[in-house]
Symmetry: C2
Subunit: 401 residues, 2 copies
């Protein structure tokens, strides 16, 4: 079977989510009761939780359709109860993290579905104290943050942290890795996060934020390259970036290509997307504002399902050859290499005491493969490898056609 065309009717569903998020943030007075507009922590927590719900819901819908597609109702692993259809629930994984005081995590994993081999969407909201060693580790990966901390120390009259060098933090993040079975359907990943570092006011005992930043991005990892898919993914991300600033997409596209490099092979794990970190601004910054940057992150987070899910939908039921499945498994091996060896989040997570190992390694595929001296052989392999080693400008190609 050929890939299905993108279904325009579905578009309303994605746009609808963006409107809902917009509503939560700006319009619905009841929802915002008790939340002042600059309460970034609470709003970011809402955003990450809503994004998780949304992406999980879309994945579930696809699983439900998959059951109808094959003409019979198989046992279904799913994440959220659906009122309209009675289905057998095999896995509902709801785990609350206990890494630090006042922390809450919610990991959702769909395993062994009909469409998805392994799909994880994870939310983590946590706060507590970072040791001097953890702060050092963090600043090593965050060059701009380090500069911020220097500025803070120079102008803020006192050093960040208590006498022992412990620094208080707050973090809210949503992240997801989705691996479909079909080798024609790409693996998708996104992560959006908000960080605050600060002190405890000795008089009031309250947390006072001193440095904050956003980070995140979304990237696509197809084993078999469909130019139309790549262009759709990148274009959707660009549409999400452009309202804030049209300079962001090209900048973050390049950052993404640089970040997802498997250094020892000099090839990328996929075809990229966007990546950014240390996104912050000064209090007197007239061009940027915390509000504006929050809007940017919100636009990106709410665009993910729209960028990714249609690509799985197109290819989920496509026929494939054993050679195509084998190649997918080899690329899964590359995914494992990147995540275990280079990914900042995985490294930081595993080094932080009290982390949930299973949440961190949720991103690994169900199965992976390594063959000795296995160079690309088939045309689809050679074409894909060419893209992994030479990042494309997908939108330039799209407008040319």
């Amino acid at each position: 079977e050929k890939p299905l065309p993108l279904d325009p009717k579905l578009k309303s569903s994605w746009d609808n989510f963006h409107d809902q998020i917009e509503l939560i943030f700006t319009k619905d007075e009841k929802l915002n009761e008790g939340l002042s507009k600059d309460n970034m922590k609470a709003r970011m927590e809402r955003l990450v939780r809503a994004t998780q719900e949304h992406v999980c819901y879309e994945a579930e819908q696809l699983e439900l359709e998959a059951c109808r597609h094959s003409g019979y109702f198989i046992t279904l692993h799913f994440l959220k109860k659906n009122k309209n259809i009675i289905i057998t629930v095999l896995i509902i994984v709801v785990i609350t993290g206990a890494a630090s005081p006042h922390s809450g995590g919610l990991t959702k994993v769909l395993s062994n579905g009909k469409v998805f081999e392994k799909a994880g969407v994870s939310v983590s909201v946590s706060s507590g104290s970072l040791s001097p060693a953890a702060v050092q580790q963090m600043t090593a990966d965050h060059v701009e943050l380090k500069q911020l901390l220097v500025i803070f120390c120079l102008f803020g009259q006192k050093k960040l942290g208590d006498e022992k060098g412990n620094v208080e933090f707050f973090a809210a993040s949503v992240s997801s890795v989705i691996h479909p079975w079909n080798p024609h359907a790409p693996t998708g990943h996104f992560n959006y996060r908000y960080f605050e570092l600060g002190d405890v006011d000795k008089k009031t005992g309250e947390f006072v934020c001193k440095v904050w930043w956003y980070g995140g991005g979304a990237d696509l990892t197809p084993s078999i390259i469909y130019d139309e898919d790549c262009a759709h993914f990148h274009n959707t991300l660009k549409q999400a970036c452009d309202p804030t600033d049209t300079s962001l997409y090209p900048l973050y596209k390049k950052w993404c290509d640089d970040y997802f490099l498997i250094q020892h092979r000099n090839e990328r794990r996929g075809i990229g997307g966007i990546f950014f970190d240390d996104l912050t601004c000064g209090t007197n910054d007239t061009k940027n504002s915390k509000e504006r940057l929050m809007g940017f992150v919100k636009d990106c987070a709410s665009a993910y399902a729209k960028a990714y899910i249609p690509l799985v939908r197109r290819h989920a039921f496509q026929t494939y050859t054993p050679e195509e499945k084998d190649w997918q498994q080899l690329r899964r091996g590359r995914y494992v290499e990147f995540n275990l060896m280079y990914d900042r989040g995985t490294k930081f997570g595993l080094m932080k005491s009290g982390s949930r190992i299973e949440s961190i390694l949720m991103s690994l595929p169900l199965t992976a493969r390594w063959e000795y001296c296995r160079d690309p052989v088939h045309d689809f392999e050679i074409a894909a490898h060419k893209v992994y080693t030479n990042p494309h400008d997908w939108l330039a190609n799209a407008t040319k056609k």
Copy 2:
């Protein structure tokens, strides 16, 4: 089927290899022609090459028997030509490394055999110049070596290396990872290596060795624990260590348990064996001598096939359940985690420019698996997990019975 008993008739073959090695080193004048007894480089090169031949030969024999076992002659992937039997050779991989001047590598990989999923035995003999950064990386992992270098700098009248801090080196090593198909048959690994660091004599242009050391070890990774297997493996290694010094086995057994720890899971990848590094001695050391340490490494290297191959032989044709195969695949995932995240050799190899990535990652299994929140369930899983988290004294258990 139950595991086969260890075959006493085979014992002669293993002992025979040890005698051959002994012959090469001490008795056969013709073989030693042109090699003075203290020419450690040339002798170590012979040892690593002979060990590779030996382990590959044993693996091949098992593959040949596997063909007879199932009653028909399947296409066979093998490594060395066998004069007595006409067989189809599908893979002969012989690659000469080109990492540095005067280097020579020989990697042998048997893939997709009847007994072995992936079996690699690799030899590397190389020399050249290490950059100051590479020397720093090396000393970070070698605490005792660092002390040696300090002593050398204090007493040697001058600093090691040229004006730019480049240090000349020589290295000869043999390493192997063998993954059988059958989940009852354990994965085996060994590595023995010899290192020299030194200067080039400005008058003669010849390399002058200033610091040298041996390193290596062997360890076993069963998915399903057979106490008898573990005891046999450890006992064979102990027998190889004891002639040099009976204090070595307990010391290196513990080092091995400490080294093969997957830190983020606080469990070992297998049931251990022996591990040592930075093994050297002063020129006036009366207890140790370079010759004596060479003898120790030779005894260990020549004992490996005897320690490992019989265990594969016992279990290669045992029937197994899908649950047992699944568990093996999950343990393969742990193997990947250790090798990519913690193994010194892998990390050093991938950071060194000009390395052969394929040789370094040869140790990865053909396939591996990760399931979310997959705790040990079946009795054999729980029993194995208990051993990975609490290293056993296998020989104490053996004598008790």
